[in-house]
C-alpha cells in the first residue's frame, strides 16, 4: 500500500464518510425490520453498518492501546456470543434488558473516563461537560435499572412490586436532585473526582429504586423506556465526543424506544408517568384465589376439552406467559394442526402485552411454525369472539380479565383486553388458582361458561392432543 493511500485512510474526513455509510446502513436496516420477510436481512445490514463504524474508528494514526482494545472486544465477544446463542426464546425479555444495561454502563464509564482525562472537563468546551454529565446520569440509571429488570424477570428477586411507601417519590426526587447538583458543579468547573463518583452512585441508587416498585404487566414498558434512555445517553456521549455515528445511532434508538414505550403504554391504557410511579398491582393487596371474587371454579378434563374443540367451528387460542414458561408453543401447534385436519378453524389472539414484551407471543409461535396469518392482533380478533365456539386460554390471565371492562375500581380498569368471555365457552389452562402476574383476581375463572384445566400448559396441551388423536 502506498503512503498516499495509507495516509488517506487515516484522514478524519474519510472516517466521517465511513460513519455516514454506517448510519445509512443502520437506517436502511431498521426500515427492513418493518416486515417479516425483510427483517432478517435488515438486521444483518445494520450489523454490517456496525462493523464499518468500528473499523472506521480504528483508522487513526497513531493508534494507541490497540492491545487493550483487542482485549476489551475479545472479552465482550466471549461473553456476548454464548449468551445470545444459549438463551431460550422465553428468556428473551430479560436478555434484552441485560444487553441494554451493559450499553448504559459503557456510556457511564466513558463519561467518567472523559472527566478523568480532561481535568474535570477543564480542557473542553462547556457543552462537552453538559452532555457528558447527562450521559453519565442517564447511563448509570439505565445500567442499574436494567439489572433490576433482568433480576426480576429471571426471578433472581421477586417480580412483585417493592416500594418503601410514601417516601419513595421524595427519595427519588432527592437522589435525582443530588445527581443533577453534582453535574452542575462539574459543569461549573469543580474538578473533584468525588463529585463524579457521587453523581454515578446516586444515579445508580435512583436506577434501582425506579425499577424495584414496578411489577407485573408494566415490565415490558420499563424495558422499552430504559432502551430509549440508553439510546439518548449514547447520543449525548456522541455530541461530547464529536462523533456522528454515535449521535445518529443513539438518537434513532432514543426516538424508537420512546415511540415503542408510548405504544405499549397506550395498549395498557396507562400513562408513562403512572408506570414509572410504580405499584401496578401493588396498590391493591393481591387476594390469593378467585374464590374471593365469589362463585365457584369448574374444573374439566383433557378428554372433555378435546371433544368440545373437535366439534367446534372456530377455536381461538389465547396464549400468555404460561405458554412461554412451559415451552408449550410446539405442542400448541401440533394440537392446532390436528384440529385443522378435523375442519376446525384455529386462530390465535395476541394481546399487545401478552407475555413480558410486545410481540413475545408472536416470536414463540413463529418458532413453532405457526403461519403468520393465523396470528390476530387484539383489534382484529375482538369482534370475532362472539362467533367463536371455544376460546382456549393458555397461561394468560390479566389480558383476559373482564374487570378491566366492568369494574371501575380495579387497578387494570380501562386496559383493553381480549373479550374471551363473549365466546360460547372458555377453557383456561392454568397451573393453579394463583392470581396473575399483576396479582389481581380474574372473575373470568368463575364465569359459568368457563372450565379450568389445571396443570402445566405443555402437559395439558399434550394430553388434549392425545385425546384428539383418539377421537
Amino acid at each position: 500500500m502506498s503512503t498516499i493511500t495509507a495516509s488517506f485512510l487515516v484522514e478524519a474526513s474519510f472516517r466521517r464518510v465511513l460513519y455516514i455509510v454506517a448510519f445509512a446502513l443502520f437506517i436502511y436496516g431498521l426500515s427492513g425490520l418493518t416486515g417479516p420477510k425483510t427483517a432478517v436481512r435488515g438486521n444483518r445490514i445494520a450489523a454490517v453498518g456496525m462493523a464499518i463504524a468500528v473499523i472506521a474508528t480504528l483508522l487513526v494514526d497513531p493508534l494507541s492501546n490497540i492491545g487493550l482494545i483487542i482485549i476489551g472486544v475479545a472479552i465482550g465477544t466471549a461473553v456476548g456470543i454464548p449468551a445470545a446463542r444459549q438463551v431460550k426464546m422465553t428468556q428473551m425479555p430479560q436478555m434484552v434488558a441485560l444487553f441494554n444495561g451493559v450499553g448504559g454502563g459503557a456510556v457511564a464509564l466513558i463519561a467518567w473516563v472523559e472527566f478523568r482525562t480532561s481535568d474535570g472537563f477543564a480542557e473542553r468546551p462547556t457543552y462537552v461537560a453538559i452532555f457528558s454529565v447527562f450521559a453519565a446520569i442517564v447511563g448509570s440509571v439505565s445500567f442499574w435499572g436494567s439489572n433490576i429488570a433482568f433480576s426480576k424477570l429471571q426471578e433472581l428477586i421477586s417480580g412483585k412490586p417493592m416500594t418503601i411507601g410514601r417516601l419513595q417519590t421524595p427519595l427519588n426526587a432527592l437522589l435525582g436532585a443530588v445527581a443533577v447538583a453534582c453535574g452542575v458543579a462539574i459543569v461549573a468547573g469543580a474538578n473533584h473526582e468525588w463529585l463524579m463518583l457521587l453523581l454515578l452512585v446516586t444515579a445508580a441508587v435512583l436506577g434501582n429504586l425506579l425499577v424495584l416498585p414496578i411489577g407485573g404487566a408494566d415490565m415490558p414498558v420499563v424495558i422499552s423506556l430504559l432502551n430509549a434512555f440508553t439510546g439518548l445517553s449514547a447520543a449525548a456521549a456522541g455530541v461530547a465526543l464529536n462523533n456522528t455515528a454515535l449521535i445518529v445511532a443513539g438518537m434513532i434508538v432514543g426516538a424508537s424506544g420512546t415511540l415503542l414505550t408510548q405504544q405499549m403504554a397506550i395498549a395498557m391504557n396507562r400513562s408513562i408517568t403512572s408506570v414509572v410511579a410504580g405499584g401496578f398491582g401493588g396498590t391493591v393487596e393481591a387476594v390469593a384465589g378467585a374464590s374471593a371474587a365469589g362463585g365457584t371454579v369448574r374444573s374439566t378434563s383433557a378428554a372433555d376439552v378435546a371433544i368440545q374443540m373437535a366439534y367446534a367451528r372456530q377455536v381461538v387460542v389465547v396464549p400468555g406467559y404460561g405458554m412461554a414458561v412451559s415451552q408449550a408453543q410446539h405442542a400448541v401447534r401440533e394440537m392446532a394442526k390436528l384440529l385443522e385436519s378435523k375442519g376446525v378453524e384455529v386462530k390465535y389472539a395476541i394481546h399487545p402485552v401478552a407475555g413480558r414484551m410486545p410481540g413475545h407471543m408472536n416470536v414463540l409461535l413463529a418458532e413453532a411454525d405457526v403461519p403468520y396469518d393465523q396470528l390476530k392482533e387484539m383489534d382484529d380478533i375482538n369482534g370475532e369472539f362472539s362467533r367463536t365456539d371455544v376460546s382456549l386460554v393458555i397461561g394468560a390471565n390479566d389480558v383476559t380479565n373482564p374487570d378491566a371492562r366492568n369494574k371501575a375500581d380495579s387497578p387494570i380498569y380501562g386496559m383493553p383486553i381480549l373479550n374471551v368471555d363473549e365466546s360460547a365457552s372458555v377453557i383456561v389452562l392454568k397451573r393453579s388458582m394463583n392470581s396473575g402476574y399483576a396479582g389481581i383476581d380474574n372473575p373470568l375463572f368463575v364465569n359459568p361458561k368457563t372450565a379450568m384445566l389445571f396443570g402445566d400448559a405443555k402437559g395439558s396441551v399434550g394430553e388434549i392432543t392425545e385425546e384428539l388423536k383418539a377421537l
Partner: protein
C-alpha cells in the same frame, strides 16, 4: 461543531421516529432487540478514548476496557439474539401451507 451536531441529533430523532412508526406490533420484540444492538455503538466511545492515548493511569484504562467489553456484549449479543428471533419469522409460508394440506388428507 456543536450546532452541526445538534442539527444531526434532531434530524436523527425524526428519522428514527419515521422509520420505526411503520413496524407492525408483531415485530416489536425483535425491533426492541435490534435497536438495542444499535445503541451498542457506544463501544466506539471506549475505542476512541483508548485509541487517542489520552487515558493514562491504570484505573482509566481499566474502566475503558470494561466499557469496550460492555459495548461489545451489547453489539454482538444484540445482533445475534435479534437474528435468532427473526429466523423464526422467516419460515416459508408455502411449504407450511403444503404441509397443512397433507395433514388434512
Amino acid at each position: 461543531m456543536l450546532v452541526t451536531n445538534l442539527s444531526i441529533l434532531v434530524l436523527a430523532g425524526f428519522v428514527g421516529y419515521a422509520v420505526i412508526s411503520k413496524v407492525p406490533n408483531t415485530l416489536h420484540t425483535p425491533l426492541m432487540s435490534g435497536t438495542n444492538a444499535i445503541h451498542g455503538i457506544v463501544v466506539l466511545g471506549g475505542i476512541i478514548l483508548l485509541a487517542d492515548g489520552a487515558a493514562t493511569g491504570f484505573l482509566s484504562k481499566l474502566l475503558l476496557v470494561i466499557a469496550v467489553a460492555f459495548g461489545t456484549i451489547n453489539v454482538v449479543g444484540g445482533f445475534l439474539v435479534t437474528d435468532r428471533m427473526l429466523e423464526m419469522f422467516k419460515s416459508k409460508p408455502k411449504e407450511l401451507v403444503e404441509a397443512d394440506a397433507e395433514d388434512g388428507k
